[in-house]
Structure formats: C-alpha cells, structure tokens
Amino acid sequence: MYAIDHIDCGTPASASEKLVTIEIDGHAIAVPEGTSVMRAAALAGTSIPKLCATDSLKAFGSCRLCLVEIEGRRGYPASCTTLVADGMKIRTDSDKLSQLRRGVMELYVSEHPLDCDGCPADGHCELQNMAKLHGVTDNVFSADGRCSERITHESKARVKALMTDDSNPYFSFDPSLCIACSRCVRACDETQGTLALTISGRGLASQVSASAGESFISSECVSCGACVEACPTAALSEKSIAALAKPAERSVTTTCAYCGVGCSLKAEVVDGKVSRMVPNRAGHANQGHACVKGRFAYGYATHPDRIRAPMIRAKITDPWREVSWDEAISHAASEFKRIQAKYGRGAVGGITSSRCTNEEVYLVQKLIRAAFGNNNVDTCARVCHSPTGFGLKQTLGESAGTQTFLSVMKSDVVIVMGANPTDGHPVFASHLKRALRAGTKLIIIDPREIQLTRTPHIEASYHLQLRPGTNVAVITALAHVVVTEGLVREDYVASRCEKDAFDKWRAWVSDPRHSPEATEAVTGVPAATLRGAARLYASAANGAIYYGLGVTEHSQGSTTVMGIANLAMATGNIGREGVGVNPLRGQNNVQGSCDMGSFPHEFPGYRHVSDDSVRHLFESAWGVELSDEPGLRIPNMFEAALDGSFKGMYIQGEDLAQSDPNTHHVVAALSALECLVVQDIFLCETAKFAHVLLPGSSFLEKDGTFTNAERRISPVRKVMEPLAGLADWEVTQKLANALGYPMNYAHPSEIMDEIARLTPTFHGVTYEKLDQLGSIQWPCNADAPEGTPTMHIGSFVRGKGKFFVTEYVATPERVNARFPLLLTTGRVLTQYNVGAQTRRTQNNVWHSEDTVEIHPHDAEVRGIGDGDWIGITSRAGETVLRAQVTDRVQPGVIYTTFHFPESGANVVTTDNSDWATNCPEYKVTAVQVVKVEKPLDWQVRFRQNRESRLPTRRDVTFETA
C-alpha cells in the first residue's frame, strides 16, 4: 500500500528530454519519449485501471486491467507496457474496454474474498477500488454469488495450505488476500535487490514464497518493506496499521534519523501517532526506498524509557530529582558560570550531535563560542569521519563527498573500501546492487568478506582482503600500479592539479618499495589481485570510490583519505557523474554537524577561527567577541578533565561513555567533571555521569534539516509534539539565555536564515526553497541557486587539486605473543550505532546481542566452538562475548559490533588515534581470546538491567503452517 497522498502514475518516469505529442481521449499532451501510455494518461489526469503496475516498478503487463484502444492498432494493448509514439491517439474508456476489464475483475474477485470490513487495507486497497469501479461486488462464477464448487474447493485447500505468516515483527503475509500480481516479488528484485521472494506454483496454486518456502523471518528477506508497500491489497501489510485499525489522517514528509543516506520518508499519522513510515518516492537520495530501520524502527520515539522531565542531582551518586525546565536550565547555567569563575573561561565546553538537526547543532556551537566564550566544541564526527573532513579539504578543497548517490548508476567500476553498505547504508547498497546487476564492476577493499563480495546475484571482481591497519599501503600500491603502468590520466592531471605536488608524488609512488609485490607481505593482499584491481579501476571510463569508517577510524585515517583522493585525481575520476570520492557517513547528520561549525578550530562552513575576516563576520552577527584560538577536541577534553583543568560539559545527543574508545578512560574523565549536562532522549550511558539531565526530542518532534553524505540538506518536519514539551533547539536557546547570552529564535527557519547569511555554501538555502525542491545539495548560492549535485566540475574547490605523499606507517597497535589477534568492528543491518534507538524496537528480534566473528582456524586452536563465551583481552581492558565461528573473517582477525552497552567493545579499544584529527583507531586492536564459562560480572548486571524488554528472536515462533 503506497503512501496515502501518493498519486501513482503506474510506471516509472522516462529520463528522456525529447518530448512526443499524443492524444488521450481527445486531449493532446506532450510527454517524454519512452513514457508508457499508462503514465502519459496519468500525467494528463486520467487514471487507467491497473493492479500489477505501480510507478516504482518496471511495467509487467500481467493483470490485463489496463487495456486501452489505440487508433490504427489491432486489439487492446496493455497501457503499462505500451510506450507512447508521436501522434498516437489513445482511448482509455469505451464499452468494450469496460466489458473486458470487468471480466478481468470478476476473475480476481473469484479468488479474493471481498469481506473488506476489518481488513487493514480497507479504503486504500487497490483491488477493492478496482472492484468498485467496475461494479464487481461478488463472485459471479456461481448462481448464488458464492464460489463455484471447483473454486471453493481449490481456494479452501489453498488457504489452508497457506496460513498467515506473522513471523516478521513489522508486517504479516496473508496469502488468502494475495492476487499474485508479483509486485512484491518485483519490489524485492528491482527496488531492494535482495531477490528473496518468488512466485511458486502455477495457475490457482500460484503463491508468493520467501526464499525456498520459508517464513519471512527465516528467509533471506531483509525486512526493507518494499514488498509491503508494493502490495495492492492487504496480503502484505504493516502490523502497525492493523493495530490502529483506522485510516491515516495526514502525512508529513520528513527525513530518516538513522544512517547517512538520509532517506526522505512520509510519516502517516493516526490520532497524533505515527501509524507507519512510507519512503517518499520523490526522495532524491532514496528514490522511494528505505530499510528495516528507517521504515519500521521508529517506535523508540514513544518508548517508555523516554525521559519526559528534566532532572538534576548534586553528585552522580545521588538519586535524580525531577524539576521544572526553568530550575534545570537555571541550575545548569549557574554551575557553568561558577566553574568558569573558579577555573577560567576554558574550563567548560560542549559536544554537538550528528543525530540532531543542523539548526540545533548550529545553536550549540554558537552557545559555546558566544556564551561560554571559548571554542571548546566538538562533535561525534570526531570519532568517525573527521579524517574525511581533513583529508578532502587538503586535497580537493572541500570537506565533503563529491557525488549524489544515484551517480553510482553511471559508474563502470566502483571501489567499496572499509564500508559494508548492505548493513550500514542499505538504501545506497540497493542503488549499487542495481548498478552491479546492470554490469558495473566492483572492487572491495576490506579485511572481512562483506555481503557484497558474493551473493547469488552479484559478485565483486576483486576482493582485496587486507590486514587491518594496512589501508595506506594498499592505496599506495594501487597508485603505484597506475603510475608505473602508464594509467595516469595525464591530460586531466596536467590541467587540474598542482604540478609540483604531482611530480613529487609520482616520483615517490613509483618507488618499487610501493609495488604490490613489495607490500604483499605487509598487506596480505596477493600482488596479482591488487594489480588486477588497479588496472580495472584506472581503465574504467567512470571509476568511483565509496568508503566508510574502515578507512577513517585508523591512526592513518586522514592519510588514507588523502591517498584515495590521490588515486581518484591521478585517474581523472573527479568532477562528473559516475566518478568521485564518496564518504559513506555513519549517522544521518554527520555531514551537517561538521558543516555547522562543530569542530573546535572552525566556524560554520569550515572556516578557521583565526581568520580575522570570518571571525569578525560572526562577531558582528552574534554581537560578542569571539576567541581566535582553536578549542579542545573530545579526547583533549577528557585529558583536560583528568588533569583538572576542564570541569564542565554540555553534551547534546551523544553517548560518549558508550561510543568513545577506552571506556575506562572515558568514565574516569566524565566522573572528574563538576557539572555534566546531558541532553538526550534516554538515560544513556553518559547520563549516568551527569548532574543535569535535559530531555531531548526525537526527529519526529521538531522542525529542522539534516544533511546527508551527498551534502543534501533535507527537511525534518514535526510530526508530533515534543514529549517533554520542548524541542532541542528551544532547550539550547533557554540555556544560552540563562547564561546571559540572548537568543530569540521563534522557529528553526530563522536559525537557517542566519546560517545562510553567514555561510557562503548555504547562502541560497531557505525553508521555502527546501519545500519547493524537496532537498538541496550544498553549495547553494548565487552560482548554484538550486544546489550542486556534483562537486569539482571543471576545477577543484581549492583551485588545483593537490597530491600528498602518503607514507605508510604501521599502527603502534601491534600483535605479539600476548595479543596475537586483531579485533576490528562494524555494524549489522538491524541495529544502529550504540543501539540507543534500535535496541528499543522490535529490531532486537534479529540481533539481540553482539557476537564475535572468529575464523575456524583461530577458534579450533583455542578450543572455541560456535556460541561459546570467549574472553577478549586487549592492552586497554577485557570483555566477554559469544563466538560466531565463520570464515567471513580471515585468520588472525576477529570482528564484533558495538550495539549493546554490555558488550563492552570499547572497553577493549585503545586510545590510539589518527595523527591529524584524533579520530580513534577503533578498527585495529590487538587482542587475545580464550574460551570462558560466562560473561564478566558487570556484563551480567547490565544484561539483567537491560532497558529494553522487547522480544528476542528466540521468543518468536517461526512456524507458519
């Protein structure tokens, strides 16, 4: 069932710019060449009856309901599969057509009960609508209006055999309501790219089947929900709709609060509550698609764990005391003022969140710079993509990715490095899989065999399964092949890059010590494989690189980013569609939080605080003198807290105690603070060290914008009122005022207006334009009034692109006899980051605890079996997790996720960090593992007190028949 406010045109739009003129029911209309007759009619305002067609899927032509008459043609062609031709005259309605369509509908209804009362799709069911339209109200294949004996018998047998599949926590499948239109199957194929569904059987026995006749939960289904949305009846329907049993009252277009894809979603609302999320088919990033998190896992917003009242306490060992907003704000402000008076202006700082809106981030950094009077502001991008900001700024001139996601459809070769898109960025993965099925070649650079490496439908041409921590050596070896085999795009480099820097780099990278043969012993990547991958990428007409935290979260994260930019420039792969350097941002607003001036050395728009003209601009606008000294980064704040020079923090929407490395160190630092103010929607791990807890608001409770990994600014629109009464931006404003710095915004649009005034790349951004265009990719200004989908066309933002020498330096985190394995980390599809949101949803059914992947060889020599508890010890700490024995990881490497606080993944990670940005080296930790009997005591306590009481997969009954 598609969105309630969607007008379905039946088939996808044609991309052709050439128009053809046709006549529909006597009215002339010009439409793009390649448009179907069905779509042309819809554009002309005529809705041709249909069942198997929907505009998110290719025409199929099976239902035979959309027949039309075309002058000069024999018969009655299906309008969905018939393309327009210049001068074509089409008739969409006639007695004959009505007769034919009615006949088709009678057949459908004979197989589908029309007992619509109580059906979740009642009022929005396409079959019901078509039946009404054609006057079919009952089964005509028997005299009494009931099924004929033959059909009754067969139908009953069929229904009996096909009982409802309720195994998925979010949707159910009732085969008795299925009309075998194949829309669900095609959605799984075309939209999601998993191909988990099929139609099994023939004729009346045709039925939708997940994998090989399994339940949905046991099948390959990834629960993206594309099939549910595509279903024209209630055969596949959201349980949330059935539970509310009322049609949606309204729909609000907003933006997903999970990963950096930033899917546009329509929140449908019943009685003030979200009844379901439907991906926006006009959404530029997601093209009408979403994943299990964005579409279904929004229940955390109303979870009982939500903090609904401000709380304060004198000491972190005291119980919390609920207070009014005014008292909490006043207390926080007086504490910050007291600390600054006693310890100095620089003794306080704050953290912005990539889960908050641009407007909220902007206000927090403004509060810190203007009200605290220092630049001690940082953001959670510090621990994920700060090397991206640094590396791309140095080489290309802008701290952002270069493309749109859809650009991948024009790529001939794609490198995916240190990213796992099917789990971390699922909707981008669907775009990528579509490109791969159309012939794009794939190179994967990852220590682990990610899903894209090989599936029944796609296979990477090369998998460079490097040892963790050797990214720079691999990138340099790839560049070595490009340079020494004459694959450099000399004309591109000569015209677009700094000559001296390139010459120096070329000489350096040509050295035989960088050859694949010379680096093989370090990287573990066979030289021939690496050479093949380099040739494939460099010789492609369009080569694109997409990378993730497996690139940035290393001691040489920034170096690798620069190495990637070097490689792309050398091969001429920046500045047009289909190419580029594309960071896959982990959280929805990582890009935006960085854009908004969250780093301690930069104002909004990545302008250094020591730049007098920029600083004076902000001083003039904000009416206060600003510091020209870079402030402290997150790890510096922790160090300063431990040495006694940093005493107060304001943290909005970030759980440092769980997400930052070396937990013992973080906990010690947080415990040393005299005033920690945490603004969060839940009592997170960090809040356990707080003195003031300010309730946060979820993305459903406020207006604002998010900026995704494509630099796309998308609207966030309020769906329901803030549970605690105030949106986050209002709380920050109150705190600023209590600190004596006036803020008087009436609406987030006024904050965006200020951002636009002060930030050149945002000069043209307004809420009105966002509403008009749906989203805008910055830079958006006089030169690009509707935004910039592709960066660096013609020239780089910095002028000439700059090559950097990227010497490989082995991480200090070495394996030895005591710590012989390397631990690396990642995400799963169904959980998100530290799990604060997804752990409070039914997504726990798929992933209810973090496990450790270990290679069979490493497991065997340690006597470890699948499911055993294993103790993991590093130089920083120890934890215990269950083993998952698999050859997805290579010998010598183990892998885990960090979605549950009791997993303690960051208890074992060290405080090694990137040389340029201090981004932690999460991806390489030397460890030893041993089989143990049980988790550690603190883990047991944690599990017992797990805030989420939602069911695990073990609680779900899989049987469906």
């Binding site: 620089g346 120096k504 250094h608 160090e639 300063a640 040495d643 040389w915």
Partner: protein, 78 residues
C-alpha cells in the same frame, strides 16, 4: 594532559609531513598543523615539555622549537 600523549601526537604529525620532504620543510608543515588544529593550552604544554624531550623525533623536535619561537614572538607582540 599527559606529556607522553602530546609527544606521541606531535611525533605522528611530524612523521606524516616528513615523508618525501626536507626536514626543515616538514617541521614547518608540522608547526602549521599544530597551530591550526591544537588548542593553545596544548601548544603551551608541548613547549613546556620542550624540544629537547628525548621522546621527540628530530622533525618533531624542530617543530616544537619553531612553536616555542612563535609563541614567544606572539607574547612579545602583546
């Protein structure tokens, strides 16, 4: 902040810029990086630790020396 951490950080920075560059050029690049990215309290602290710290690489040591001179000049300028 622990001296050991600051020394490690400045060594890492110096190591990056030292690749394929003359030591003096690398030291100046490292200096520029530290000045642009580090809080002044960290700059002052590494200066207090001193260029002679045995844990510093030659390029890092030179960068700290240059930083010492730069801070002194700034202080003298008022």
């Amino acid at each position: 902040m622990h001296a050991e951490i600051l020394v490690r950080m400045v060594n890492q920075i110096a190591e990056f810029y030292a690749a394929g560059a003359e030591p003096e050029v690398a030291a100046r690049e490292a200096l520029s990086h530290v000045q642009r990215m580090w809080a002044h309290r960290m700059c002052r602290q590494i200066v207090e630790i001193g260029a002679a710290d045995p844990g510093l690489s030659p390029v890092a040591s030179r960068a700290v020396q240059l930083l010492t001179e730069a801070l002194a000049a700034k202080q003298a300028a008022g």
